[in-house]
C-alpha cells in the first residue's frame, strides 16, 4: 500500500505527457502540462512522507524533540518553489495561448500550422 502514492504519480505523469504531446488543442496541452507538474510535486511530497511522523516544528511545548519523528521538510520547501515556478510557467503559457488565439483565431494545432504557413 505504501506504493499507492507512487503508482498514482506514475498514472498522473502518463496522463500529463499524453495530454502535452498528443492533444491537438493548445489549452488541453496546457492542462496536460499542469497535470505533469502536479505529478512531479506529488512525487516529491510522497517521498517525504514517513509513517506516524508529524510536522517538523522544533518546539519544546509540542514535546517532540527528536527529529526522527518529523517528516522531511526539505521536499516541501522545494515544492513550494516548484509550485511558484509552475504558476509562472502557466501564466506565460496562458498568455501565449491567448495571443495565439487572437492572432490566428484558433487553438487547434492542425489549423494553426495551416494558418502559420499562410501568413
Amino acid at each position: 500500500m505504501s506504493n499507492f502514492a507512487y503508482i498514482s504519480v506514475a498514472i498522473l505523469l502518463t496522463l500529463g505527457i499524453y495530454g502535452m504531446v498528443l492533444k491537438k488543442n493548445l489549452v488541453k496541452k496546457l492542462i496536460g502540462m499542469t497535470i505533469l507538474q502536479v505529478a512531479v510535486i506529488m512525487f516529491f511530497i510522497a517521498s517525504a512522507v514517513k509513517g506516524g511522523a508529524t510536522v517538523p516544528v522544533l518546539d519544546e511545548r509540542l514535546g517532540i524533540p527528536n527529529p526522527i519523528h518529523y517528516i522531511s521538510p526539505l521536499q516541501h520547501c522545494l515544492m513550494l518553489t516548484a509550485i511558484v515556478v509552475g504558476v509562472a510557467t502557466s501564466g506565460v503559457a496562458f498568455a501565449l495561448a491567448i495571443l495565439i488565439y487572437r492572432r490566428f483565431k484558433t487553438l487547434d494545432e492542425g489549423i494553426l500550422l495551416q494558418r502559420m504557413g499562410e501568413k
Binding site: V55, L80, I83, V84, V87, G91, F94, A95, I98, R102
Partner: protein, 144 residues
C-alpha cells in the same frame, strides 16, 4: 465572449468575504517566520481577495481598489525589498541573504527574525501584485 454582468448576490457576498480573506492574508504573511505560511501563501491569498472583487464587481470597480498600472511596479518593488534585504547583508560583509549581517544593530538571532519578516513582506507584495497583473494582462483587449 460573454459580456460581464453584475450579480448583486455574488457582489454582496464577496464584498463581505474579501476583507476577511485579506486579513487572513496579512496574518499569513506576518506570521510566515513563526508558523507555516509566509509570503507566497499570504501573497496568493491577498491577490485572491483582490481578484475576487475584480471578478464580481468588474474591472472598473476593481480598479478603484487596486489600479492596474500598479501591478508591475509593485511587483518589482516587492522583489526589490526581498533583494534589497539580501543585498544589504551582502554589502555589510555577509553572504547574500545572510540576515545575521543586517545593519540594524540587533543580536544575530533577532536579525534573522527581522530579515525573514522583511523578506516575507517583500515576497507577499510581489506575489500579490504579480498575480493580479497576470489576471489583468490576460483580460486585456488589445486587438492586434
Amino acid at each position: 465572449m460573454r459580456r460581464f454582468r453584475r450579480n448583486i448576490i455574488i457582489l454582496m457576498v464577496s464584498k463581505m468575504v474579501a476583507p476577511y480573506i485579506m486579513l487572513f492574508a496579512f496574518y499569513v504573511i506576518f506570521h510566515g517566520h513563526l508558523s507555516p505560511g509566509g509570503g507566497f501563501q499570504g501573497g496568493t491569498l491577498l491577490s485572491a481577495a483582490i481578484l475576487l472583487m475584480r471578478l464580481t464587481a468588474g474591472i472598473k470597480l476593481g480598479e478603484r481598489q487596486f489600479k492596474r498600472i500598479l501591478g508591475t511596479p509593485l511587483g518589482s518593488l516587492g522583489v526589490l525589498i526581498y533583494f534589497g534585504v539580501g543585498f544589504l547583508a551582502l554589502l555589510w560583509g555577509g553572504e547574500f541573504l545572510n540576515y545575521a549581517y543586517l545593519p540594524f544593530g540587533l543580536t544575530p538571532e533577532k536579525l534573522r527574525y527581522l530579515g525573514i519578516l522583511l523578506v516575507e513582506i517583500g515576497v507577499g507584495i510581489a506575489v500579490a501584485a504579480i498575480l493580479v497583473s497576470i489576471y489583468d494582462d490576460l483580460l486585456e483587449h488589445n486587438n492586434e
